[in-house]
Point group: C2
Chain length 419, copies 2
Amino acid sequence: MEHAIRTLAEKARAAALGTATLDTTAKDAALLRLAMLLEEQSAIILKENTKDLEAGREGGLTQALLDRLRFDEDRIRAMAEGVRQVVALPDPVGEVIEESTRPNGLLLRKRRVPIGVIGIIYESRPNVTVDCAALCLKSGNACILRGGKEAFHTNTVLAGIIGQALQETGIAKEAVQLVPTTDREALNILLKLDDCIHCIIPRGGEGLIRFVAENSRIPVIKHYKGVCNIYVDKDADLAIAEKIVENAKCQRPGVCNAAENLFVHEEIAADFLPRIASRLQANNVELRLDHATAGYINGNGLTFTHASEADFHEEYLDLILSIKTVDSIDEAIDAVNQYGSGHSDAIITTNEAAAEKFLSAVDTSTAYWNASTRFTDGFEFGLGAEIGISTDRLHARGPMGLRELCTYKFIVYGTGQIK
Amino acid sequence: MEHAIRTLAEKARAAALGTATLDTTAKDAALLRLAMLLEEQSAIILKENTKDLEAGREGGLTQALLDRLRFDEDRIRAMAEGVRQVVALPDPVGEVIEESTRPNGLLLRKRRVPIGVIGIIYESRPNVTVDCAALCLKSGNACILRGGKEAFHTNTVLAGIIGQALQETGIAKEAVQLVPTTDREALNILLKLDDCIHCIIPRGGEGLIRFVAENSRIPVIKHYKGVCNIYVDKDADLAIAEKIVENAKCQRPGVCNAAENLFVHEEIAADFLPRIASRLQANNVELRLDHATAGYINGNGLTFTHASEADFHEEYLDLILSIKTVDSIDEAIDAVNQYGSGHSDAIITTNEAAAEKFLSAVDTSTAYWNASTRFTDGFEFGLGAEIGISTDRLHARGPMGLRELCTYKFIVYGTGQIK
């Protein structure tokens, strides 16, 4: 096993040295061929997908997981369309990020280059196989894909189609490889090969991500969870505050950029809290309130429970919101930094000084002033597509696109300079 | 022990939330006070340094290690001067890296912010204590310093002086903390505290760096070693090639950006190899040659040994050079990517197409065209000062200064936008 996994990684490393120097035309040709092949071979994809679905039903997968796993003609077309959208994105490789000339005449350029070999560790959604392969290839990287066992047949057929597209367009098929087993032992071996693999991106539940982070010798870019916070300041426009809190909580509660906690300044609490509580309750949101907040709501005929300390750390991913009344913007900032996961945090205020203070002091990937946290997303940020969202601080923070799949190198042009 | 280390890290985390929002004036005031205190308290520093030197002599430290450990008035003045140079550098915090306005009116700014808490793990040179503390503070980070046991008394007095400078200028002294023990158990605990510490930078020998990389759950930025390569192309200006190879090997052989391998195109081998070999031999360089190279040198009265495969992977840090004759630029590129450590690699040629091919294809932090590898250094690159050099690909590659001690966050300015 160890030998097989190492061989696969060494082949990826060799392939990466080739993909790093491909020009945009060559990469785009392979991606366009891939999009076409996905549509042409949809019958085979659906057949293999059916095997996974049958095994999943027998194995007792929930309806939600089966739905994530399921392909149909529309989903295959959407996946091919996603590949074509990656073709339309600008190629990040070769961009000059900084340039300077030193007193001794050396010209320094910091040029964007691919990272090398990217390992993607993911769970049940097989479209990740194609999405990630396309983003890695466009950014000049090789990738190793390790999907979940639920999607094994589907992933295998998709990887075969990707390999065919690469070969037909003159690119080494080892530039995209699926790990041919889903057991944890193989994953553990993979995560130690830091001489061949340069970056690991896990996508899935917090359990998988923690396993990867704790067992990897290769740098991991990740977010465990999104505990996003909204602070409604004493100088907030309450109509805007209501609209944003409702949107951030209710529009799609199961995603990482949905709000989980609301902090309200006590000066506007008596006015704002009953309004927002009834609006949320109309959206079937369960309210978990600290003691002070409960005092403002009580007697308005609204139902709620008392929030525990643990509730404010919780990523509900559901129609539940924890609310706390704070006596100052400082208490709000402390609460965001204590309970939040550094994903997305918003202040609602008309006071610019308060806004700048909050935006500067909250330790987070994305800080909002008068907008919903739901915008933290590669597409919304204009990256075109997203390989993931990072709540880490090194390399990339927030939504990650093609540029974040690159590193840089210094190119130094001399005329014989010696030291 | 575990409790004490965790408490220290939690205090650093809390202090970092404060240093992140300090303005430049406050940080510079603390650094200027530190520079002054170092000079004022030089007698105490020298007294504590003497304890380390005596213990080192008794413990059998080599003369070279004792020299690294030793302070005198001049070295203390130089250290204080180094702190004043950090004051003179521009503050990276708050710089807007990118800005865009989305179709829905959201204004996005990617703003440079401190990473948070930096752990520096280092060995015998106590000036690292002050250098790193100054760089971390200027970039708004808190730091945890874990020095070597040989320098424990010196590091302790320096950390005390740093704490005094912070307190006297109104900054929490927990922004710079020395781990009060040098045992490995404490280090191992520290390396697991990824909820409080955000980045580890090890500085020292390869053994220490490997220990840190293999035991850390926190992202590590590092370079294990510098196996730097020079390729002399068939179209090289041989006078320039001679001068650069001599400089890169001989000017200071014990540093990471010195050359260890030379690759020479066979078309110019008969002309160039005897010339460079005798020039190197005049500098007392030991030559280790592959079979073909030996053929060109033999009979010129020069001494050499035959290079093994392992020699080309070796970081000699000494007056030794491995030389190989190659039949093409492609073989040279493959050799660089196979033997090099991704630190610094040069091509010597007058042929622009060959240069661009090499610069693009070598997988390295810094690629040179007609210049010595010895320039890979924060000061030479205009960074002012250097926290280290990275041969990693994530976050930073090559020389790292103040900007590389920062991450970014997205600041989003809205007018009530919801999704």
